[in-house]
C-alpha cells in the first residue's frame, strides 16, 4: 500500500506492507530523518514528538496510515542554523541540551504549545510539557520556553502589527 504525506514541506509517497507501522520508523528509517528519537515506543517519554498538521504527536504510537495526506514537521523542518525557529534560538541562548537525546521532542512539544498558548505561564508549562529528560535539563528548559515565547511574540508583532 502507499501512504502520501508532506514532510517538512516535501511530498512523499511511501510504499509499505504494514499500514500500522508507527510513523516514527517511517520518518527515521525510510525518510532518514534521525532528529526524531526513539525512547520508549509506548507514548511514555515524548522523545519521538513531531507535528502532524501543527499538533504535537508522539510518533512512536501513531500508525502511519493516519498520516495520509497530512503535513508532518520534524525537528529538521522546524528550523536550521541559517533559519532557526524561535524555540531553537532560545534553546541555544540558554544552552539547554546536555546529552541532547530528549531535546528535539521537547522543542517540538514547546513549538506546538506556543502556537496554542503564546504566553504560557509556569503552570501551562508544567501541564503541557510532560516529556522525560533524564539529564534533568528542565530548569533551563523552562527559561528557554519563556524566552522562546517572547521571541515568537516579537516576530508575530512585526508580521501582524494590527493584532498587537
Amino acid at each position: 500500500m502507499k501512504i502520501s504525506m508532506i514532510v517538512n514541506g516535501q511530498s512523499h509517497a511511501i510504499e509499505l506492507t504494514d499500514e500500522y507501522t508507527p510513523l516514527l520508523w517511517v520518518i527515521r528509517d525510510i525518510l532518514g530523518l534521525k532528529g526524531t528519537k526513539f525512547g520508549c515506543g509506548k507514548a511514555a517519554c515524548g522523545a519521538c514528538t513531531l507535528h502532524v498538521d501543527g499538533e504535537a504527536v508522539r510518533s512512536c504510537s501513531y500508525p502511519v496510515k493516519f498520516a495520509e495526506g497530512k503535513q508532518i514537521t520534524t525537528i529538521e523542518g522546524l528550523g536550521n542554523a541559517e533559519n532557526p525557529h524561535p524555540v531553537q534560538q532560545a534553546w541555544i541562548e540558554e544552552i539547554v541540551p546536555q546529552c541532547g537525546y530528549c531535546q528535539p521532542g521537547f522543542m517540538m512539544a514547546t513549538a506546538a504549545l506556543l502556537n496554542k498558548i503564546p504566553n504560557p505561564t509556569d503552570e501551562d508549562i508544567d501541564n503541557n510539557i510532560i516529556n522525560v529528560c533524564r539529564c534533568g535539563t528542565y530548569y533551563r528548559m523552562r527559561k528557554a520556553i519563556h524566552k522562546a515565547a517572547d521571541k515568537q511574540n516579537a516576530i508575530n508583532e512585526i508580521n501582524e502589527p494590527t493584532k498587537a
Binding site: 507501522t21 526513539f38 546536555q98 546529552c99 541532547g100 537525546y101 522525560v132 534533568g136 533551563r140
Partner: protein, 720 residues
C-alpha cells in the same frame, strides 16, 4: 633559548614503553595522511614520558590532533561525550594551548582504529581532571613544533615569533599552521612543553557554549541509534523477563514466515531474528517461542532481607578511635531501593562483520571492552574489530556493559550484512545493570558539649564497582571493598574522636553496577540524615553542628567553606516560613565538596521542592556554565531518584518496565530556582559530573523533618 628546549634526538623504543600500559601518542596530519607517521612518532615520544592519569594501549601510535588544510584542528577525544560537556572542556583546554580559536577546533570521538581510546572507560567524573595536564602539554608541544618550523621557514628565531589564532607571524610575514606543515617531514620536538600561564587563557575558565550545541538543537544524527551503514538490516534478540532465566531452546517456525524476516539466528546462548525493518524484526521476535529455565520466583521481600547489614562479607573502610558501646547510643536505619538508569536513548548498536574485519558503531562508555568482547566472540584479534563510538543519549553508567554488540556482530556474520539492533524500552528496564539497593545503620553519641563523641556508618550494598570496567583512580582501593559501593560511605566528620565506617557486601541475583555517583547518593542520604537528627538532638543549628566536627586540614577547610557559603547564600534558617522549611546536607565525592540547601513544602501530601542552593568547589572551573549545568542536572536527577524512582522484584521479574509506572521527575517537579555557587579551593580542575548528586536526598529529608516532625528513612521519600 628555544633551541635549548628542542631536540632532534631519537628516543629509544624502550622509552616509549616506559610506563607499561600507561601512555598516549599524538599525531598531526595535514590534509591527507602523508605526514602522519613522522609526526605521530615524534609526539609519541613525548606523550609517553608524561604521567597520564588514564590508561590506553601503547602498541600503536594514537591520533590526538589532525590539522586540515583549512587550518582546523580535529581533536580525537579518548573520552565519550554523554552530555557532561567533556568535549567542550577538552576543546577549551586544547584551543588555549594550541593558540587557535574555538571555531577552529573540532572534537570527535576517537575510534579503536585511531587508537586514542581510554582503556579505563568514561565515567567517574575524571575526564577533564584526568586530561587537564596531558592534553594541554600535548597541545603545547604541537604549538611549539609549529613555531620551530615557522622560524625556519620565515628565517627568524623562534623568540621573534608571535602566534595568534593558528597563525604564526614575524615582522610582516605570517603563516598558518597548515602552511607551516606543508612539506615538513622531520619535525623537531621541544624537550619540555612550555605551558602558558593560566591567567592568559582565552577560553579556559569562561562559560563558552557547548561545542555540540548546534547539532543537538537542530537534530543532527549523532547518537548510537542514529548510526547507519549501507544495506543495513535490523536484528532483535529474545530476552527473558525473569531474573536468572537460562535459554534452553526456541521454536521459530512461526517467526520464519513473518513478513520481512531474513534469518533466524540460533546460538547456544540466544536466539535472534534479522529482518528488513525494525518493526518487522520486533514483530518476528514476538512470534519466537523460547523455553527458559527459570529459578524459583523471587520476590521483593527476599531482596530486602538479603540486603540487610550483617549479611555477606564486611570490610572496615574507615576507623578512628573505639567502637561505640553502651545504652546512650542513638541508632537509626535507612534504605534505598533498586534504581534504573532510564536514560532516554535505549542501548543499540550497528555491527558489520565482514570476512576478516568488523565495524561496530555504538553508544558505549567502554570502547576497549566492547572491542574485546566482540573480537573474542568472533575468535579474532582485537585489531580486526574497529569500534566507532557515538554520542550517548545519556550514560550514567548504563553503557559500561555492551553484550548487545556481540549479539549484533553474530547476527551480522550470519547474514553477511550490517545489522542494527536496538533494545526495546521493556528490555532496557528488565536488563538494566541496576543501582543496587542499600541498607544503612547509623550510630552516634553526643558528649556534654552537644557534639558527636562517636559516629558509625554500617552499610550493605550489591555490586557497583565489582564486575565493572570503570575503575576510578580517585577512590583509594581498599582490599575487599567495592570501590563503587563505598563511594560517599566515608564519614567526613574527621574531628569526631571515635568514628568508623563498615561496608558489607552482598551479591544479588541480578546485575547491578554503576549508576551516576554510585554509592554517593544513598550513602549521603543515610549519613547526612542521621547527622542532622543528632544536630536536632543537640539543639544546635544544622550547619554550626557540622562545622564544629570537621578538622582543619586542607580537605576539611574546603568542605567547611562550602558548608558556610551554602548557609549564607541561602539564608539558612531552622524556622518554618510560609509553610516552607529548609534542609541542609553536604558531602565530599572524588575530592569535590558540595553542600545543598533546599526549600520544601508539602502540598496534597506530596513533597514539593521550591528552591535548591548548590555550593560546589570543583577546583579550577574549566567551563563554569557547564559545571552549573551539571549541578542543575544532578539536583533534578537526584530529586527524581530520591522522591520517585524504584524498581521492585515481583514474581521473579524486575518491574516496572516503562516510564510513568517507573515514576521520574518531570518539568512540574523541577525546582523553580536552582542557585549554583562555584568556589575554587584548588588550582586544578576536579570532579564535577557526580559530586553534586550527593547531598540532595538528605537535604530534602532534613527539610521535611523540620516541617513535619517526621524522619523519612527510605528512598523514595513518601509522606504516607
Amino acid at each position: 633559548m628555544a633551541d635549548n628546549q628542542s631536540s632532534e634526538k631519537k628516543l629509544s623504543r624502550r622509552k616509549f614503553l616506559v610506563r607499561g600500559g600507561l601512555g598516549t601518542i599524538g599525531v598531526l596530519a595535514v590534509g591527507t595522511y602523508v605526514l602522519r607517521n613522522p609526526i605521530r612518532r615524534a609526539i609519541l615520544e613525548k606523550a609517553n614520558e608524561m604521567d597520564l592519569a588514564y590508561m590506553g594501549s601503547t602498541d600503536n601510535p594514537m591520533l590526538w590532533f589532525e590539522l586540515g588544510k583549512d587550518n582546523v584542528v580535529i581533536l580525537h577525544s579518548p573520552k565519550i561525550e554523554m552530555g557532561q560537556g567533556t568535549f567542550t572542556g577538552l576543546a577549551q583546554m586544547a584551543a588555549d594551548e594550541l593558540e587557535i580559536s574555538m571555531s577552529n577546533i573540532k572534537v570527535v570521538h576517537a575510534t579503536t582504529a585511531t587508537g586514542n581510546i581510554d582503556g579505563m572507560s568514561t565515567g567517574g567524573s575524571t575526564s577533564i581532571s584526568g586530561l587537564w595536564q596531558p592534553l594541554r602539554e600535548l597541545a603545547a608541544i604541537f604549538r611549539e613544533m609549529m613555531k620551530i618550523e615557522a622560524a625556519k621557514k620565515l628565517g627568524v628565531s623562534v623568540d621573534d615569533l608571535s602566534v595568534k589564532d593558528g597563525v604564526v607571524s614575524a615582522n610582516s610575514k605570517s603563516l598558518t599552521y597548515a602552511e607551516i606543515s606543508e612539506g615538513v617531514t622531520n619535525w623537531t620536538i621541544p624537550e619540555k612543553p612550555i605551558l602558558k600561564d593560566i591567567s592568559s587563557y582565552k577560553y579556559v575558565g569562561k562559560p563558552v557554549p557547548r561545542v555540540d550545541l548546534d547539532d543537538k538543537v537542530y537534530g543532527a544524527p549523532m547518537f548510537g541509534l542514529d548510526a547507519e551503514m549501507p544495506n543495513m538490516l535490523y536484528g532483535a534478540v529474545v530476552r527473558p523477563s525473569k531474573i536468572g532465566a537460562k535459554f534452553i531452546s526456541a521454536t521459530t517456525d512461526k517467526a520464519e514466515k513473518m513478513p520481512g524476516v531474513i534469518k533466524i539466528v540460533s546460538e547456544d546462548d540466544f536466539v535472534g531474528v534479522v529482518a528488513e525493518s525494525y518493526i518487522e524484526a520486533e514483530n518476528a521476535k514476538q512470534a519466537i517461542e523460547v523455553i527458559w529455565e527459570t529459578p524459583d520466583n523471587l520476590q521483593q521481600d527476599a531482596i530486602v532481607s538479603m540486603m540487610t547489614v550483617g549479611n555477606g562479607k564486611s570490610t572496615i573502610i574507615q576507623k578512628e578511635g573505639d567502637a561505640l558501646e553502651g545504652d546512650d547510643i542513638v541508632q537509626m536505619e535507612f534504605r534505598s531501593p533498586i534504581g534504573a538508569h532510564a536514560q532516554i536513548e535505549p542501548n543499540g548498536v550497528v555491527a558489520f562483520v565482514e570476512e576478516s574485519k568488523a565495524t561496530i558503531m555504538i553508544s558505549t562508555q567502554v570502547i576497549g571492552i566492547t572491542r574485546k568482547e566482540v573480537s573474542s566472540r568472533l575468535g579474532w584479534d582485537a585489531e580486526q574489530v574497529n569500534v566507532i563510538p557515538t554520542y550517548l543519549g545519556g550514560g550514567f553508567g548504563r553503557r559500561l556493559h555492551t553484550p548487545h554488540a556481540v549479539q549484533a556482530a553474530v547476527m551480522s556474520q550470519a547474514v553477511g550484512k550490517p545489522v542494527k539492533y536496538i533494545f526495546s524500552r521493556e528490555e532496557e528496564f528488565q536488563h538494566d545493570m541496576f543501582r543496587p539497593p542499600t541498607h544503612h545503620i547509623l550510630k552516634g553519641r553526643l558528649n556534654e558539649q552537644g557534639l558527636l563523641d562517636g559516629l558509625e556508618h554500617h552499610f550493605v550494598s550489591g555490586d557497583v564497582g565489582n564486575n565493572s570496567a570503570l575503575v576510578p583512580n580517585i577512590v583509594p582501593p581498599i582490599v575487599g571493598a567495592d570501590i563503587g559501593a563505598i563511594r560517599g560511605g566515608f564519614l567526613q566528620y574527621s574531628a569526631v574522636p571515635n568514628h568508623r565506617s563498615v561496608y558489607w557486601h552482598v551479591t544479588l541475583p541480578f546485575a547491578t553496577s554503576w549508576w551516576r555517583s554510585l554509592g554517593l547518593l544513598a550513602n549521603t542520604f543515610a549519613i547526612e540524615s542521621f547527622v542532622d537528627e543528632m544536630a536536632l538532638k543537640a539543639g544546635k543549628d544544622a550547619i554550626e553542628f557540622r562545622l564544629a566536627q570537621v578538622n582543619d586540614d586542607e580537605a576539611g577547610k574546603r568542605l567547611k567553606e562550602v558548608m558556610r557559603t551554602a548557609g549564607e547564600r541561602a539564608g539558612y534558617s531552622e524556622e518554618i516560613k510560609d509553610g516552607k522549611a529548609m534542609g541542609f546536607a553536604a558531602s565530599v565525592d572524588a575530592g569535590t565538596p558540595c553542600a545543598h540547601v533546599v526549600e520544601v513544602s508539602v502540598e496534597d501530601n506530596k513533597i514539593r521542592v521550591h528552591k535548591v542552593t548548590v555550593v560546589l568547589d570543583p577546583g579550577l572551573a574549566v567551563n563554569p556554565d557547564q559545571i552549573r549545568a551539571q549541578c542543575e542536572g544532578c539536583v533534578i536527577m537526584g530529586m527524581s531518584a530520591v522522591l520517585f524512582e524504584q524498581m521492585k522484584v515481583v514474581d521473579g521479574s524486575l518491574t516496572p518496565t516503562i516510564y510513568g509506572p517507573y515514576e521520574m521527575a518531570l518539568m512540574k517537579h523541577a525546582p523553580r530556582e536552582i542557585d549554583v555557587v562555584l568556589l575554587q579551593g584548588k588550582d586544578t580542575p576536579g570532579a564535577v559530573g557526580e559530586p553534586p548528586l550527593g547531598p540532595i536526598g538528605a537535604a530534602i529529608a532534613n527539610a521535611i523533618r523540620r516541617l513535619t516532625g517526621k524522619r523519612l528513612q527510605s528512598m523514595p521519600l513518601k509522606l504516607t
